[in-house]
Symmetry: C3
Subunit: 208 residues, 3 copies
């Protein structure tokens, strides 16, 4: 394996930024699901494409780590950040896929709290995409992780109220189970964004 | 950022100890839920207060790590321990909150296995609170983590039997789903105590 | 505590290999559950025995780490690999145990997708057992982790289709809930094998 002896730091920041922009594409696709008459299968398929693209970015990142002699920060933290960005994408893709597979979109409308969760994810995605390029200077990152954690709290609350709604007797048991699976993926995506933020915090603290 | 050059180790042990004592307060509040005629809303609100207090302790800990030049043990392990203590609290708070939000306390009684799980958590909390000050000398910690892991096994068994009970046909499907959420949080709290114990073990092994 | 100053590397590889062979025994026992007229209680009990054996191997490994001065690779990675192999076993044992406790084997047949998941686990177990001895030379490991990750994707797909089946209306709500618990343990085992593979990758990358 050839090593590049000059740090090619730029490539790392670019890969993180691209991966985070894919998350924005992902949450924007989920937002489309709220539109009347939306083609859920098409949204789900486009989400799967974005997810494949993210997988490739992650593999590129891993190869880069292995072939780079000096990495901009701890090798292990680069791994972790890459795989955590990938985790978010997996959950976003699962949301679209499950909505489609379970035929949930035949319902007159999805519960309002689900759209609230998607709105939280969308904000987290945009914050994350904005923050990634700032890893280069390690400056002005604190606001990002504080806000991302705050949004996760919002998401938690929306998730709890979504379950209260699902268990209220408004839906039959099987529909509840299906929507619960979707809700769990939304909440996991919200958590996964927080994990990304926590890793950024850890990196920034080490470098400070 | 100002650094203190003399290690202020004491503050770390104090924060861990305080965080662990909050867990004891948490499990004691959960114990109250077994009392006849208990005011669930009030218990849930007090749990939320304790959880807020724990959040503040965690933030204080993080600030302390960032402003301290020499930490008593690996910076990353301090982070991990702090965040794992916080995780336990989050699950305890969720138990009270869900019982209240789902209106589960209108049932004549909660299943016996739920109280068994709370009893396990109460023992784990007390063990943890007793162990935290011993981090200072790294002595006599082995009993703690062995016992905490043993209790987690007890908790696992109680959780399994709780699910057998919930799925027995004694309750309607929506009630089962609600109680399952509570059961999952109780089990997650039990696991979270084990994670704390595992981190203490890792720290002690490194220092030995 | 006595330290051995000459690296006794061999013992570590042996313990990993033994632990992985227990996973093969575990998945083979799960395979038996597909046989007509199988004695589920007996299979579940034998799984519990294998799990106890794995617990002992894990403890032996931990003791070995603590009493060895020079470990073949990072102490923390040895811990992680050991505990992740143990995690897989815990999920395999849970599958047998839940099938028995919930009386699910009184159904005419388990869903086909469940057997598909067991088949994936069986392949992952065999790959893992084959790979462990290669940790000694760190050679020819890449195929293992790539294939193990690929199998995890297969498992994910089978899991999703299993849930679609469970939520289709073919079963009553309580049976769905019971089978969902089993499905979750199968899927968690599949994930846990991937975690093992990821740790092997991390170790191999560090050593390369």
């Amino acid at each position: 394996m050839k090593f590049s002896f000059r740090p090619t730091e730029g490539a790392f920041y670019e890969l993180f930024t691209k991966a985070a922009y894919n998350l924005v594409r992902g949450t924007e696709l989920l937002n489309e699901l709220a539109l009347p008459g939306v083609d859920v299968q098409s949204v789900s398929e486009r989400l799967t494409e974005v997810e494949h693209d993210s997988d490739q970015l992650t593999h590129e990142l891993y190869k880069k780590i292995n072939s780079t002699f000096i990495t901009p920060f701890d090798r292990e933290d680069i791994y972790r950040l890459g795989s955590q960005l990938d985790d978010v994408m997996d959950h976003l893709e699962a949301v679209g896929s499950l909505l489609y597979l379970y035929g949930l979109t035949k319902l007159p409308a999805l519960p309002r709290e689900m759209h609230e969760l998607v709105a939280v994810l969308d904000q987290q995605a945009k914050l994350t995409a904005d923050a990634m390029p700032r890893l280069r200077t390690m400056k002005a990152l604190e606001d990002y992780w504080i806000e991302c954690n705050r949004l996760e709290n919002d998401g938690d609350r929306a998730y709890r109220m979504l379950l209260v709604r699902l268990f209220s007797g408004e839906y039959d048991a099987l529909t509840v189970l299906k929507m619960k699976e979707v809700a769990d993926e939304l909440e996991a995506a919200c958590d996964a964004f927080e994990h990304v933020a926590n890793t950024v915090e850890t990196i920034a603290v080490k470098e400070s």
